[in-house]
């Protein structure tokens, strides 16, 4: 693996993927709220309407702003010894996974990501999963392949030492 010293950013298309995902969730929320109010609205006090609209408005604002912040903040770097991801919208996380601890690497792509040619790389360790999200498919494949190679090399070296 060639040694990277700079953090990489995501493809700007990640924002579109997030917007589509949020739009679907907002649609489900709107349908749920609408159905509740249509069915039970007459029996509910008027402030329940205000609460429903306020919740939807808050979610809408979050859905508009979140992808922009997510994209601006997301950084990742893969070096010879670690996978390092910095991400977050309200809560910012900095995750470090030593490559030595990696058990399995998989490339996952849901329908929205698939449509946009994006994929997530799930890095499984014995203690949990770390994910590099919204990578371009070929980049995700390369990352997974390179990580697998490093893991294989570690295992081969161990066998030699044993």
């Amino acid at each position: 693996m060639t040694e990277n010293t700079e953090y990489k950013r995501l493809n700007p298309k990640c924002r579109i993927a997030m917007y589509i995902g949020y739009a679907v969730m907002l649609a489900i929320l709107a349908i749920g709220e609408f159905a509740t109010l249509a069915l039970f609205g007459k029996d509910l006090p008027s402030w329940t309407w205000i609460i429903c609209v306020a919740i939807f408005a808050a979610c809408l604002v979050y859905a508009v702003i979140a992808p922009i912040i997510f994209y601006r903040r997301y950084r990742y770097i893969i070096t010879s010894d670690k996978v390092d991801v910095r991400r977050g919208i309200i809560i910012v996380r900095h995750t470090v996974v030593p490559i030595e601890r990696i058990h399995q690497v998989e490339v996952v792509s849901g329908p929205i990501n698939n449509m946009l040619g994006l994929a997530d790389v799930n890095i499984t360790t014995a203690g949990g999963i770390a994910t590099i999200e919204y990578l371009e498919k070929d980049v995700a494949d390369t990352v997974a392949e390179e990580l697998n190679k490093v893991v294989e090399k570690i295992l081969k070296d161990r066998k030699k030492n044993d």
């Binding site: 910012v92 996380r93 996974v97 030593p98 014995a126 203690g127 949990g128």
Partner: protein, 492 residues
């Protein structure tokens, strides 16, 4: 060890048959009402299903085997699917024996083999029932092989427990050794059931009583029975633990398998100057549920040093710990305020609704009962807020962090305190996180993920300087780069 193939003891079929009969009895009781006519076809159908299940039980017994080969254990199961599971001896973390009530009545023992894996950590890789002496013999052979020690079940009984516990210790642990919230909730439901009996209807009394039994009394009794006759001792580099009254449990694991050691001080235990020791070690959970291996029940604080010296000297470190920095005060209070506002909104609106909108319902709830409920929720709302801010106030002194050469220590918990000492080499993922307020002060919290008996477990720190917490991952990586990390000690 030469190739030897075993089946489960035939009593397994009796055990499974009893289970089937029990299920049939429960179904019959719930479906049939006294005095109603029972269709004969239904009875014939039930008999046919019972016969099929019995045949299946016999077939499953016949087709499930365990073979001890020179380098591995092979579990074959050819019932519906053909399955072959191979367990290399090098991957086995522990071989435990469990004696359930069935086992005791039928003179058998369950041998459970666990591997070093986070996947399926809560379930053994192989579980077979043998005649008691055969199970002991096989376990002995396995342990001799795994730990390179001669194992004699008779000699094991001669080892003295490093810490002596009696029945009262298991009762005490069952009551106050786990979460203080569960103990307090039992007290709450106990008090509520008395109030319901005096002021409310029978329905609310039965509800409170059920909550008391299921959330308080039963878990406590289960813990008492589980940890009765607790014995812990060390033979060379292996830890041996035994406990249980009705169901007995014995386990052994190598000290090198321990990822972290935790000294837990639940509130009421702390008031009595007592604490208990737990370890995070993967591959020993033979109880089939989420249980962190307990090294000691509640012991006096002055016994802790002796217990650590005798049982876990490898984990004694003089790691200097320090409290959260003063600038963590504001983020702590801000976080508390968010929670307090949510609490107030939720319970405050419930209180307001009870006082302003709730009308008495004839035969169900009276005006005075509504008033009592209203005052009760108001008191809980205020107490909750007082508790939250008390928690924020004390958090400054409660959360601690310190780094040593090969281990680091995280102290956390406001009501129930715990001190966790983690080996850098056992950290799987190090994650720091911070909301906008702590970020402004350069603070973050650490979320350390490692292997445990439940699969994976995380340890969370309080607010500390981000640069300081980043040193955890830096130390992990430098130990890898410097060759201080020996994968053979942690291989999974």
């Amino acid at each position: 060890m030469t190739d030897r193939t075993y089946k489960n003891h035939p009593t397994v079929m009796i055990q499974n048959t009893i289970l089937v009969v029990f299920i049939f009895a429960m179904m019959s009781l719930s479906l049939m009402k006294p005095g109603t006519h029972v269709d004969m076809m239904l009875i014939y159908g039930a008999i046919a299903v019972f016969i099929i299940l019995e045949l299946f039980i016999v077939y499953a017994w016949k087709k499930t085997t365990i073979t001890f080969e020179p380098d591995q254990i092979v579990v074959d199961s050819n019932v519906i699917y053909k399955r072959r599971k191979t367990i290399p001896y090098s991957k086995i973390a522990s071989a435990n024996v469990v004696r359930t009530v069935f086992n005791r009545i039928l003179g058998t023992t369950t041998l459970q083999i666990n591997i070093n894996s986070a996947t399926n950590a809560a379930r053994p890789e192989a579980s077979f029932v043998f005649k008691a002496d055969l199970a002991e013999k096989l376990r002995g052979e396995l342990m001799s092989r795994l730990f390179e020690q001669t194992y004699d079940p008779k000699k094991e009984k001669e080892y003295e427990s490093v810490l002596k516990f009696n029945g009262w210790d298991s009762v005490l642990y069952g009551m106050i050794g786990k979460s203080s919230f569960s103990f307090l909730s039992s007290v709450f439901w106990g008090a509520y059931s008395v109030i319901s009996l005096l002021f409310f209807n029978t329905g609310s009394f039965i509800f409170a009583l059920m909550m008391l039994i299921f959330s308080g009394i039963m878990p406590i009794i289960s813990l008492i029975l589980r940890y009765c006759n607790f014995r812990v001792y060390r033979v060379d580099n292996t830890m041996r633990i035994e406990h249980g009254l009705i169901q007995t449990y014995r386990t052994s694991f190598e000290i090198t398998r321990i990822n972290a050691v935790r000294v837990r001080r639940p509130l009421f235990a702390r008031l009595m100057h007592k604490c208990c020791i737990e370890t995070e070690v993967v591959g020993i959970n033979a109880m089939g549920d989420d249980v962190t291996p307990l090294i000691s029940l509640l012991i006096n604080e002055d016994q802790l040093e002796y217990a650590m010296q005798e049982l876990l000297p490898e984990f004694i470190r003089d790691i200097p710990v320090h409290k959260q920095p003063a600038k963590a005060k504001l983020p702590t209070y801000m976080r508390t305020t968010y929670v307090a506002v949510a609490w107030l909104a939720l319970l405050g609106s419930l209180t307001a609704w009870l006082f302003l909108f709730m009308e008495p319902i004839e035969g169900s709830i009276t005006a005075s009962q509504i008033e009592i409920f209203g005052y009760l929720t108001a008191v809980i709302t205020v107490l909750g807020i007082v508790f939250l801010y008390w928690g924020a106030f004390t958090a400054m002194n409660r959360y601690e962090f310190g780094m040593g050469g090969d281990m680091f220590t995280i102290v956390n918990g406001i009501v129930d305190r715990s001190t966790t000492t983690v080996q850098y080499d056992r950290v799987q993922i190090s994650s720091l996180y911070a909301t906008p307020m702590p970020r402004r002060f350069g603070l973050a919290r650490a979320n350390i993920s490692m292997l445990s008996s439940a699969g994976a477990r995380t340890v969370k720190s309080g607010f500390f300087e981000k640069e300081e917490l980043e040193k955890i991952s830096a130390t992990m990586l430098s130990r890898l780069a410097d060759g201080e990390y020996d994968y053979r000690m942690t291989e999974i």
